[in-house]
């Protein structure tokens, strides 16, 4: 992996380590400040584990006032701060810096209020995404965004990355599902945007914070909307003899007026990989596999599933199965959810890319990726959230072979540039972090980036909060941008990645 440029280390801060640790210990419980080498090791990286850095110290405050005091102190002493949620981010947004405090929100792990009347939950940011659903599901409610890491990722991290999931087309991403946040600015100012009511007037500062990757403030409380669990959820598993026919069917489903709860596509390489790995029972003769999920009332879902069936038959599907029970529906998803480990079993390493493209460009994108795969002599498997246009190519390679690693990096970068060329973007849901920082100029020109940097400057004048992330340091389009998994050893091997 190529070296990544990070902000210049301030040696005066390193020299003052013991004084800084002492001061931090006075701002929170002394046990909440970690500074010994063995204590710092677990915090050296997030889920983009190819990059590691030892932070100056880790501080784990317990309440908003402590966060405010810590940030105020760091602001006055020019100490950089890297905020961190559960550390499951795939783009290196929580990568520590040697001269920075790592501010962990792990102790903010309580749900503060469940308010069924206002259909919302007020929670601390360290609560997991799935934890919110677990807290309300006995009353028939759930929290809609469902990133694949929902078992472990924190809601605060979801706000920072504007996390999505497989249901984004119908239910939106984090930004569409939160009502309010409490946040602490770098100078220690505590502020509140939104609350339990819809659409706060004035500048939508909550909308700005959502997806800002921890550069503008530290979120200490989130109010999320909860939705009623749909009466019925059914899925269809459909095989197609060609990429074009499957892609056309997916486009036609959307243009016919159906908004599926989820719609996933897998290419032949991935169908075979997952079927070998998990014996999912997928149609191995298909060139492309489509999973369509529909939710609503009984007759609504039955009506929609009939329409989906007709469209797929019209587009020459080679196989079609409809789920008739919850167990069967989950079995349709089982193979799809095993996609990443299945690739891990086929090669020593794989890179997971994340880009978005317009739905109708899928066939074009897959053909281009196939050509690139031949050019670089590296196998690739593709999964695609067809509902919302989010593409995840998985490039398989051997990391011990330097030449293969170099080729993989080039390959990945070309895929993301293809996404932009086809009218898409360089990240659909993993964020920019440090991983895709230098690719920002593929999408934005100087004016665009300058405007974003001026916002950053207006809210964090000294550039102390999570510096070096999202925006290019070198101002060049370097060849980088993907998630590296070695020997199937993801930092979080238990989390499904899809």
């Amino acid at each position: 992996m190529s070296e990544i440029a990070l902000p210049k280390i301030d040696s005066s801060i390193l020299n003052r380590k013991s004084e800084i640790v002492k001061k931090l210990s006075s701002l929170t419980n002394i046990e909440n400040v970690l500074s010994e080498a063995d204590e710092l090791r677990p915090y050296e990286t997030d889920a983009l584990s190819v990059y590691t850095q030892t932070p100056l110290a880790v501080v784990l405050p317990e309440n908003t006032e402590e966060v405010s005091k810590i940030l105020k102190y760091c602001h006055s002493e020019n100490i950089k701060v890297v905020p961190r949620g559960a550390g499951t981010g795939l783009s290196g947004g929580a990568l520590p810096l040697q001269d920075a405090i790592l501010l962990g929100l792990g102790k903010f792990n309580k749900i503060l209020e469940i308010d069924y009347e206002n259909k919302c939950v007020v929670t601390q940011p360290g609560v997991t995404n799935l934890g919110i659903t677990h807290a309300v599901q006995h009353k028939g409610f759930y929290y809609a965004p469902d990133p694949s890491s929902q078992l472990a990722c924190s809601i605060g991290g979801n706000v920072a990355e504007n996390s999505g999931g497989v249901h984004s087309l119908k239910y939106g991403t984090t930004t569409n599902n939160i009502l309010g946040v409490q946040m602490v600015m770098m100078d220690g100012t505590i502020c509140r945007f939104g609350g339990k009511s819809f659409d706060q007037e004035g500048y939508d500062l909550m909308g700005l914070i959502c997806g800002s990757e921890g550069l503008l403030g530290v979120v200490t409380e989130v109010t999320v909307k909860i939705l009623r669990t749909p009466e019925v959820v059914r899925a269809a598993l459909i095989g197609f003899p060609s990429i074009k026919e499957g892609g056309d069917a997916a486009s036609e489903i959307i243009s016919s007026g159906i908004v599926p709860a989820g719609m996933e596509i897998m290419d032949k390489a991935l169908i075979e990989a997952t079927d070998n790995f998990s014996k999912a029972g997928y149609p191995r003769d298909a060139e492309l596999l489509l999973i369509v999920e529909l939710d609503g009332t009984v007759s609504e879902v039955n009506e929609l599933i009939k329409k989906v069936e007709a469209i797929c038959k019209k587009n020459n599907c080679s196989s079609l199965k409809l789920s008739n029970s919850e167990k069967e529906r989950l079995s349709f998803w089982a193979g799809r959810k095993a996609a990443f480990p299945a690739c891990g079993a086929m090669a020593p390493d794989y890179y997971c890319m994340d880009g978005s493209i317009p739905r109708g460009k899928l066939a074009e994108a897959l053909l281009e990726i196939k050509k690139l795969s031949e050019k670089y002599e590296l196998p690739v498997a593709n999964c695609f959230h067809a509902g919302d246009g989010n593409l995840h190519p998985l490039i398989m390679f051997d990391g011990n072979d330097k030449e293969q690693l170099r080729k993989t990096e080039e390959f990945g970068s070309e895929i993301l540039k293809t996404c932009v060329r086809l009218g898409g973007v360089i990240t659909g849901e993993h964020g920019v972090g440090i991983e895709k920082r230098e690719l920002m100029c593929e999408m934005f020109n100087d004016n665009d980036i300058q405007q974003q940097l001026s916002i950053k400057k207006s809210l964090d004048e000294k550039n102390l909060l999570n510096p070096g992330k999202v925006y290019p340091i070198l101002r060049k389009c370097a060849e980088e941008g993907r998630v590296h998994v070695h020997k199937n050893k993801d930092k979080f091997p238990d989390l499904p990645r899809f």
Binding site: G164, T173, Y203, G257, G296, E303, S356, Q451
Partner: protein, 426 residues
């Protein structure tokens, strides 16, 4: 309005000295020049919503009305990219031909202003961020914006977002622009998410016997898995004869008794599932022994248009307030308003449209305090001719104002664009 300074460019100016840049580069040239000369400008589109907000303190007026036209409409991709001042009517017509729509239901403010339709432009909607009755189900205007291009206060052309739903590439400036009343960027291009129109709709009318019942119904409706896409409460207000007469004439439908209080909720979908949902909801709301009536699609559609046109407050000469609060506090607010101010409730209990008599401006202060205490906010959408701006149009606290000033500074350091439109100093 006269321009005090000479602008060197060739941009068309009409007899009222309003600038009409014809494309993005002319907008950029104009603003760059105004920036150099420290000369602020009001930004307008088709003037349909310019009455909302404070009067701007500027020497110039720039109309973006010539920046109009559909750039790219992809029904199968569920987006439409348009020049910023494309009329909403034009967009709705094109979408309708493909059985699609803007799901946030644009409110037609023309009725309260001049008694007739004037929907204005998409840039106007984005700048105000006021969504109609479907908001609680599908989100607001800001939730339907995928990307934009525009010119900041220095004259730089900037963009954010794109045409895809999932996008975490840089700060989500589309959200920030929504509801910014033209104070950050002069918009030139907007990409909106569009959604399929539902096959049909029906509206169920319930006649609650007391105020307590209203929020019980609203709560049950919003808790149901049989989703509804609109729910309003229109009170009886028997003491105000004019209001009663207006109500009866606006909501004159065969199957609706408009002279008493009513709740109306809308169910959309295919015909079979509409029936199924209505049956489910009747059970959940325990309506089987109550008087209800049902508006079929031919009555249901015009009914919701009238709600979203605010026709009940047509050509109002009083102050018209828009208050949004968490629904759990709605019952208390209804009690306060009953026979005090004319009002109706939308968004299944969250949004209140309240008319305050022009002689009772001091009441706005009390209502704003209530809005804040309830965890919401209040905006004076239309002011009466006697309004003296003693009470601010918008609700803002000190910290948010401080941050808003910083954000404004980052887009428009010399306060060239719509200065003072929202807050003093912004």
């Amino acid at each position: 309005m006269s321009t005090k300074i000479k602008i060197n460019s060739q941009i068309f100016q009409d007899s009222n000295n309003i600038y009409y840049p014809k494309d993005e580069s002319e907008v950029s040239d104009l603003i760059r020049e105004l920036y150099k000369q420290d000369s602020p400008t009001e930004i307008i589109g088709n003037n349909s919503k310019s009455f909302i907000g404070n009067k701007t303190q500027s020497a110039n007026t720039t109309s973006l009305s010539k920046i109009s036209g559909i750039i790219d409409y992809r029904p199968e991709e569920l987006y439409i990219k348009v020049k910023a001042c494309t009329p909403i009517n034009e967009i709705e017509k094109v979408l309708s031909e493909n059985n699609q729509e803007l799901a946030f239901e644009p409110i037609d403010f023309g009725y309260i202003k001049e008694g007739k339709s004037n929907k204005g432009t998409v840039a106007g909607y984005l700048s105000c961020n006021y969504a109609g009755s479907r908001r609680f189900k599908v989100g607001s205007v800001r939730d339907h914006v995928l990307g934009f291009k525009g010119v900041n206060g220095k004259g730089d052309i900037i963009k954010s977002g794109g045409t895809v739903v999932k996008n975490v590439t840089g700060y989500d400036l589309s959200k920030l622009i929504a509801g910014s009343f033209g104070t950050l960027v002069a918009l030139t291009e907007i990409t909106l998410k569009v959604l399929p129109k539902k096959d049909s709709s029906k509206t169920v009318i319930i006649y609650p016997s007391n105020l307590e019942q209203i929020y019980d119904f609203f709560n049950k409706l919003s808790s149901s898995s049989s989703e509804i896409s609109g729910a309003v409460f229109v009170p009886e207000q028997s003491k105000d004869k004019d209001f009663v007469a207006k109500k009866n004439s606006v909501f004159k439908f065969n199957d609706l008794k408009s002279n008493i209080s009513f709740i109306a909720f809308r169910v959309e979908g295919d015909k079979i599932s509409i029936e199924e949902k209505i049956n489910n909801l009747k059970k959940e709301l325990e309506l089987n022994n109550s008087e209800i009536s049902i508006l079929d699609v031919y009555q249901s559609e015009p009914f919701w248009k009238k709600v979203n046109n605010l026709e009940i407050f047509e050509k109002t000469e009083h102050n018209l307030l828009r208050m949004v609060i968490p629904p759990a506090n709605g019952s208390k607010l209804c009690k306060h308003l009953e026979n005090n101010h004319n009002y109706f409730v939308d968004w299944c209990g969250s949004l209140f449209w309240i008319e305050v008599n022009n002689k009772k401006e001091e009441k706005i202060k009390d209502l704003k305090k209530m809005a804040k205490d309830f965890g919401g906010y209040l905006t004076v959408i239309k002011t009466s001719s006697e309004y003296d701006y003693g009470e601010a149009i918008f609700t803002v606290d000190k910290v948010r104002l401080m941050i808003s000033e910083k954000v404004k500074q980052s887009f428009d350091p010399k306060r060239i664009l719509n200065p003072g439109k929202m807050y003093r100093g912004v």
